[in-house]
Symmetry: C2
Subunit: 692 residues, 2 copies
């Protein structure tokens, strides 16, 4: 009767809305690079230093291994980048690792990846901000003397910005990122120039210190273990690579191709910067230790607890540009800024992932709809709170926090690559075209190599870092996993409970008559409105009900009722204990007992107020009554609002809230999503169901 | 049509309810005494010591004045008791000082008294518990080493007990109170016996210490000021006397007579104990100082900060019974217990006063109805929180807290006695019978003397204690006064806004047609129920509305709609931003624009859940939508509940909550209150209005 007439109105409403909001715009590659790559590029600020720190355990001689470790990290980076280029072509909908794992390995694997990513986001905030503070502190000493305080202040600042809904502008990201990249490249080029062409000796601030080897003269298995530890620390440079796979919809067409190109570009930049910094660090004789207070010696005596160990980038910059010079300060500032922006990516990624998880019913449903300000706010606050706790517990020490960081990332990498292998297996079983098959074989080989390599790294990371803190990350993952499973089970159970039968009655009682009650306390405008509305609805019986709390008020009510000649009969319920709720509940229940097949409709006038404190003064009894009525079967409760003058203020506030921009809007791209790929079994079911 | 038929049902419902609840029982005098008098009687534990403390400023020689001060306190006590006996006969409804002041002096005076009483309750808790801890500490040293901690622990314990709603059993009060009174009397008698008959020398633990006089050799004006200060400290013994005037309804008949007798008895006990303790303290050479660390000297050297100054009762008990003996410990325990019970009276009095104030619209309305558990809980928590803050700020030192205590009490006394004088004036103007006139003259004289005396004491207290802490209490009173005035103004303003006109339309638009919408997301039982109910209500148009958040879900919904052949037309609203609220609000607004004189009724299925966390998973979008809909004029919102299985648990919890006993129920007496006396002008208006 009305299906066809829906279409014109829908198009009308749809177009109207879309033109109202100036919406998200698609990103060109030059803007997409900073937006998505700020996390991996900024990792370059701490990853090289981590390598040197671990190697220092065996003394300065072990630094000679660092180029080899850099090479290993570079190979891993190329592998991961190549693997993810397959991802972005195969899954252009932006589901990322979670989608790949769920589709190919099943829901439990997907949930594992989701838990790992959630933990990862928290640690991105903690590590990036701590490292940013450390880099900033090389230019501003005050900051580093109050590391934890400043770090938590930055977390609070980012939280407030995101709660308010600052639109994540692509340009906002581009500038600091390009300044940082340019700065590092200038550093490398100038350092190479001075060292190779001019022949200068550049000395890092720690060049004259010596390292006390905690375990000097390592050989054999112990040395290999140490090298593996150093390597797994260097893998911190890979964090954030997967973000592009989540953001494919935001690219301009051809989306997958552009995403893949950006990935490659990012990988290239990252490895260049990583290797360059390691080389310069060795050339300028940087000395860094895990326990600088004990193991760094100045003329044989330990430097003690007052010594601040600057990050490797800042030491190299001091050697190449000169400590305190303009390029030095600019680079320190840009590094800190890029790291803070990298933390901001987590604020945007967290709700995005939450929305996808909510769609699959692993998180409360209201996270799924866009622009749900309150739900996003809760997620953002949770993220910030968890990060702040970690920062506090670990004294904003990026080295300690990185030990927790890498686990989640590599769980995600490994499962996603394994999933891709299964993806190609599945497609190879169905595909006949030899050209396509060749490409699929190649892709599968890349993903298989990637899966093996990242799986190995994951094992190494677990082995070497478990006691150093990785167990905390694993614990976090387990907590997320268990909670999300429980939420899913709840929703499934409720869905079963609510599923309508196919019986003629649909499993639902069909009442035949309805009795209406209007709750009144005195005759004023809200009461009269409620009576008018109730009379409109033409129920089988209608009566007004009042509770005798104060005899004087009741008498006045009756008198006024008579005076105005209101036709609706007024029933007064006694209330010896001056309660409101119980007499009404009892009355409703007695009505239901008399006529069990009839429904009861209760009309309650409700004041719409403007300020939060006014809620304390109005509607409390009504709310409590409503709550109790809802437990009674066969009852529906109608609120008849009366907007007080003060509610205008609240209306304006609600309108403003509705125009709030959800974080991460830029990354999601516009709303019309291409259909997600379904596993073979499910798409067959869908095809069967869709037949008319 | 139905006014006469209300009566039988009302009687029926009324009787049924009253027999359900086993209700409050009326109190015989022997139980009423402990219930109402525990506060004044327990003041005896600290008031004598306060007198000695203040006098010690002028050295031990000033102790000689203490008997005179005791006499002054006794006279004041008799005056106040005699005055309040007039109160209980003239105002037997239990309104207390607030009612007397409001009725006779106007609403502002009444509000002042109310503010003073509220501050008084907070300080009763703080002072009684601190003093109880000090007395307990004389038997258990651990307690006194962690005074603040133990005091706050006791506050928390009492709060939990009251939140849970332990029925204030009269017997629970009686035993510790009688043990305390008996114990003190035994102390006095045995002390008198040993001292006068046996001729023993009883030495208090501080007998051998000497006092360093901070201002030795005082004379003239300064000495008088000091004596006045000591006197006003001794007035702490009067706190709580007015409680009986609040509790007259709880006595057995003849209520006023019994209340008056109990007052007299209580006064007698209190003065006897007060004087007896002062005498014994002097006889056993108790030395107490305001700053014991500096001013108590042991062989010329100050005792220092480690010294614990025991309360006077425990020092006297140590001298008479022997420190550590069984009677000593029993008395210490009974004293502490009685003080904790006195604090509990505040937990019961606060909500009682709150209920009366709410009836006059000075506090949120829901405090007025009995058994409103949530409102009472809020009040109890507020009281406990304020008391805990004070205890923390003043280190649980009862001496410092008492400086704040006395102001509120005497504001209340003075205003109440002045009000009584006006009361008698008014009655004398109307009364002709000479016998009654003579009695009224006598009562007026008593109240006038009481008013003068308490007014003087109030001035003395303000002068002597303002800088010592009384300003804090005054600040609290001002805050309460301002808040309550603001609440009253708000209610008055809203009442004006809502008052129905006398125009034919009653100032309210009368819509002629109604359009119903049912919100659906998928076809399950709650949806079917909502559709059934909406169909019952027979509105002019009815349609089902869904928002297209997920194309797959919408397609499934349409298919199911067709398959079941549901007659209600289904309209799908587009939502490019995956919001639910805005498309629906826009649709409703467009309906209203098309037909401005019609009402719109929106049916929203609502899940009734069992556990708090389930609220996070359901209904969130519905709640937000409801909130926005209520701002739109001409709209009513109907919740059609679906009780999930888990809601059974919540139903049971709600039933249990309904059977909760409100604190202070014992004191209020049963519900049928005699009519409150109205001021002359208002009762004339009532008589005029009541004419048919």
């Amino acid at each position: 009767m009305s299906k066809l007439t829906d279409v014109p109105k829908r198009i009308l409403i749809g177009r109207a809305l879309r033109s109202d909001k100036l919406g998200e715009t698609l990103l060109p590659k030059r803007i997409a690079l900073p937006v998505f790559a700020s996390d991996p590029l900024s990792s370059v600020a701490y990853a090289p230093g981590e390598v040197l720190l671990v190697l220092s355990v065996a003394g300065a001689s072990a630094y000679a291994f660092s180029p080899w470790i850099a090479v290993a990290v570079v190979v891993l980076m190329f592998t991961v980048v190549a693997s993810y280029r397959q991802n972005v072509h195969a899954y252009p909908s932006g589901g990322g690792d979670y989608e790949v794992a769920t589709t190919n390995l099943g829901p439990r694997a997907g949930l594992t990846v989701a838990s790992a990513l959630l933990v990862d986001y928290v640690l991105t905030v903690a590590v990036s901000i701590s490292s940013g503070i450390e880099n900033l502190g090389s230019a501003i000493p005050f900051v580093v003397e109050h590391k934890t305080l400043c770090a938590i202040a930055v977390i609070v600042l980012l939280t407030l910005m995101n709660l308010r809904g600052v639109k994540e502008s692509g340009k906002l990201f581009a500038i600091p990122t390009y300044v940082f990249v340019t700065g590092v490249f200038l550093l490398l080029i100038w350092g190479a120039f001075r060292g190779l062409v001019l022949g200068d000796t550049m000395k890092a601030p720690t060049a004259d210190l010596t390292l006390h080897a905690e375990q000097g003269g390592l050989a054999g298995f112990a040395l290999v273990f140490l090298l593996l530890r150093a390597f797994s620390s260097g893998c911190a440079a890979l964090t954030g690579v997967e973000a592009i796979s989540n953001g494919v919809p935001a690219f301009r067409k051809p989306k997958s191709k552009n995403a893949g190109t950006t990935l490659a570009f990012m990988g290239g930049l990252a490895v260049t910067m990583f290797c360059g910094i390691i080389v310069l660090a060795l050339a300028t004789n940087v000395h860094m230790a895990e326990n600088p207070a004990k193991d760094l010696l100045d003329n044989g005596t330990p430097v003690g607890a007052g010594f601040t160990q600057e990050p490797v980038i800042s030491q190299v910059a001091a050697a190449v540009f000169g400590g305190g010079s303009l390029p030095f300060v600019v680079l320190a500032a840009a590094t800190a800024l890029v790291l803070f922006l990298a933390a901001n990516t987590a604020y945007n990624g967290f709700p995005l992932l939450g929305s996808i998880l909510a769609q699959d019913r692993y998180l409360p449903r209201q996270l799924h709809t866009r622009g749900d300000r309150l739900a996003f706010s809760n997620g953002i606050v949770l993220l910030a709170g968890a990060a702040a706790v970690l920062v506090y517990l670990y004294d904003a020490d990026s080295t300690k926090l990185i030990q927790l960081y890498i686990v989640g990332v590599f769980v995600s990498f490994t499962l996603s690559q394994v999933g891709m292998v299964r993806h190609w297996n599945r497609h190879l079983a169905a595909e006949k075209d030899p050209a396509k098959r060749r490409r699929m074989h190649r892709s599968r080989a890349i993903n298989a190599f990637g899966a093996t390599f990242t799986g190995l790294v994951l094992t190494v990371v677990l082995l070497t870092k478990f006691t150093h803190g990785a167990w905390v990350a694993l614990l976090g993952m387990v907590i997320f996993f268990v909670t999300m499973s429980a939420i899913r089970r709840h929703y499934d159970r409720v869905a079963d409970e609510l599923a309508a039968d196919d019986t003629p009655d649909d499993g639902v009682v069909r009442p035949s008559r309805v009795h209406s009650l209007v709750l009144v306390s005195k005759v004023h405008k809200p009461t009269l409105r409620a009576l008018n509305y109730a009379k409109l609805m033409r129920s089988d019986t209608l009566e007004a009900v009042s509770v005798d709390v104060d005899p004087a008020d009741t008498r006045a009510l009756r008198d006024e009722w008579e005076r105005r000649g209101i036709e609706v009969p007024l029933k007064v319920l006694a209330s010896p204990y001056r309660e409101i709720t119980r007499p009404i509940i009892d009355h409703v229940k007695s009505l239901r007992r008399q006529s069990p097949r009839d429904a009861v409709s209760v009309y309650i006038p409700e004041y719409v107020v403007g300020h939060w404190y006014e809620h304390l003064l109005h509607n409390q009894s009504a709310l409590r009554l409503k709550g109790r009525l809802l437990f009674t079967p066969g009852v529906m409760v109608t609120s008849v609002p009366w907007q007080l003058d003060s509610s205008e203020a609240a209306k304006l506030r609600a309108r403003k809230r509705a125009e709030w921009n959800a974080p991460g809007a830029v990354r999601r791209g516009p709303v019309t999503q291409p259909k997600k790929e379904k596993p073979a079994s499910q798409s067959k079911k869908d095809k069967a169901a869709a037949k008319p």
